[in-house]
């Protein structure tokens, strides 16, 4: 299969017709119709998603929350991933996620909210206009990328469930499908992956539910069909392939904190002054800077200090790392 190589700045120019030729589209439609006509709905659903996977998301760039830095290439973003559900190497998620089925998809909402239950992915997203946001992503391993995400503000998505005043935290859970996610058959982490935010962090305008990147639906290796993006926190907070949202009164457990509590805290805010016990967080390698692009200084809250510092006023960030 030929993979189109995207270059920074491409995103605005991509038309669906460039990605899937019309004849392929029409063939798919015929197959879909045939499948529906013969009542093979399972196949129908798969084809529907396949068609959706190549659609231009028609996202409007949110300039206020977009960097002017050039984004990393589509190839970089989709071949260098930490998604242990598909394996430990950076290339493993792209190599091993082919069997993963991100559609149909439902999300179960429970806990301290009025509107709980199980919702179809489409119903969660449809009420909201899709935004594009170009965010920095800083991995706890001291490398970083710039990624043009497409999605909806987390606050808008959460508000439709009408969380009550008792909801102090939001917990998220990744899908558990060891037959489709080979990494879940090993014990590198405790499965399923869980993450969480304080409610004010979750409602912050920077918190984002991504459903795509570069104008296309999320590839499996990037957390299809929907994932969290909190750009002022280390990448591991950005839980992928979310199937459960739980509004809680108490701080929920988080996977990396369970794995190594003295190395990974609940907050995991990017902070060049608080080192990982085993390595420095003061500087980072920018992916895409090549062989001779050495490290650059890491910014407080990954450069989003102005927006988020007030969330942590008065907190000892060395203690609440």
């Amino acid at each position: 299969m030929l993979i189109r190589r995207f270059r920074p700045g491409d995103s605005a120019d991509i038309r669906p017709s460039e990605i899937t030729s019309e004849s392929v589209y029409l063939n798919r439609r015929k197959l879909l119709q045939a499948a529906l006509a013969t009542g093979v709905t399972g196949i129908g659903a798969a084809w529907t998603h396949d068609a959706a996977a190549v659609t231009d998301l028609k996202a409007q760039r949110n300039a206020k929350y977009s960097l002017s830095d050039p984004p990393n290439s589509y190839e970089d973003i989709t071949t260098y991933n930490n998604f242990y559900e598909f394996g430990l190497d950076k290339g493993a998620p792209a190599a091993n996620s082919g069997r993963f089925k991100p559609a149909p998809w439902t999300v179960t909402v429970k806990g301290e909210a009025e509107n709980t239950g199980t919702f179809a992915f489409e119903d969660l997203i449809k009420p909201h206009p899709i935004e594009e946001r170009v965010y920095r992503l800083r991995c706890v391993e001291a490398w970083s990328m710039v990624i043009p995400w497409d999605g909806v503000p987390l606050a808008a998505a959460l508000k439709q469930f009408k969380p009550t005043s008792k909801a102090k935290y939001v917990a998220f859970k990744t899908v558990y499908r060891p037959d489709e996610m080979p990494g879940q058959r090993g014990r590198s982490l405790q499965w399923p992956y869980v993450e969480g935010l304080r409610i004010d962090e979750a409602m912050h305008p920077l918190s984002f539910l991504a459903i795509g990147l570069y104008g296309r639906t999320l590839p499996n290796q990037n957390g299809a069909p929907l994932r969290l993006v909190t750009p002022w926190k280390y990448g591991f907070k950005g839980i992928k392939s979310i199937v459960e949202i739980n509004f809680t009164q108490k701080q929920p457990p988080t996977t990396w904190n369970i794995s190594a509590p003295h190395e990974y805290g609940f907050y995991a805010n990017v902070n060049p002054k608080v080192d990982h016990p085993r390595w420095s967080q003061a500087r980072e390698r920018k992916i895409g800077s090549g062989l001779f692009g050495s490290r650059v200084p890491t910014l407080m809250f990954n450069g989003y200090e102005q927006e988020v510092a007030s969330l942590y006023r008065g907190m000892d960030l060395k203690k609440y790392y």
């Binding site: 190839e75 970089d76 071949t79 260098y80 242990y84 430990l88 950076k90 290339g91 391993e141 490398w143 090993g186 590198s188 982490l189 794995s259 080192d275 085993r278 390595w279 420095s280 003061a282 500087r283 390698r285 992916i287 895409g288 090549g290 062989l291 001779f292 050495s294 490290r295």
Partner: protein, 229 residues
């Protein structure tokens, strides 16, 4: 036993080429020859490749003596110096990649890392300990040091343990691979301890040499037929 000529003319050049393959693979990938590529994070890729091969060759060097005795291959020892020097070469390349490409000669960061990050401190210590071994690897130094040469080169035991520890400590979650290395190193060291246990004659050293002439010839060629390390 292969003749000294075969060892010198065939085995050693072949081993040299073999040991240079990881270096060549990095160079090929850097110039994208034949579709090879260093991937999305080239610096990390180079650093990992060199580090992995440094560790592998250290362990292979450590395995020479046991393998010789288990399989009765006395000539194996004559390849040990080259293996050890290649191990040193890859460890140095691993270090230089970190220093030049990863840190970009950012000295305050480098010094802080060496002093404050235990896994870097350990790796750096292993590198420092390797330097005297590389320096004293020549025939001349072996002759000059005599018995002390052997004691000095026993520091490879510690170096191998430090190298595995260095690897173990920088892994984020899955420690399987470093633990496999640890198991191998422990077997190789355990076997030595067993051989050296009190009250046991040193079999290899005390074994009469069946063909003194050949033995001396080999000794002249390599200057390196002593038992341990």
């Amino acid at each position: 036993m292969p003749s000294p000529t075969v060892i010198r003319r065939v085995f050693k050049p072949a081993l040299f080429v073999l040991c240079a393959v990881p270096l060549l693979s990095v160079v090929w990938a850097a110039f994208e020859i034949g579709g090879a590529s260093l991937g999305t994070n080239p610096v990390e890729k180079i650093q990992d490749t060199f580090g992995q091969w440094g560790l592998r060759l250290l362990v292979i060097t450590l395995a020479v003596t046991p393998l010789r005795d288990w399989f009765g291959l006395p000539w194996l020892v004559q390849l040990r110096r080259m293996l050890g020097l290649f191990a040193f070469f890859y460890v140095v390349m691993h270090f230089l990649t970190w220093l030049l490409l990863d840190q970009g000669l950012y000295w305050s960061g480098i010094l802080e890392d060496i002093a404050k990050r235990p896994f870097i401190t350990i790796g750096f210590t292993a590198l420092l300990l390797l330097v005297p071994l590389a320096v004293t690897s020549t025939n001349k130094m072996m002759r000059r040091l005599g018995k002390r040469w052997k004691s000095l080169h026993r520091s490879i035991y510690v170096i191998c343990l430090l190298a595995v520890w260095h690897y173990y400590w920088q892994v984020k979650a899955d420690t399987t691979e470093p633990l496999i290395y640890l198991a191998i190193v422990l077997v190789l060291l355990g076997w030595r301890a067993w051989q050296a246990r009190p009250g046991r004659a040193r079999t290899v050293l005390s074994r009469p040499v069946s063909n003194p002439e050949k033995h001396n010839l080999a000794a002249n060629v390599t200057g390196n037929v002593s038992d341990n390390p």
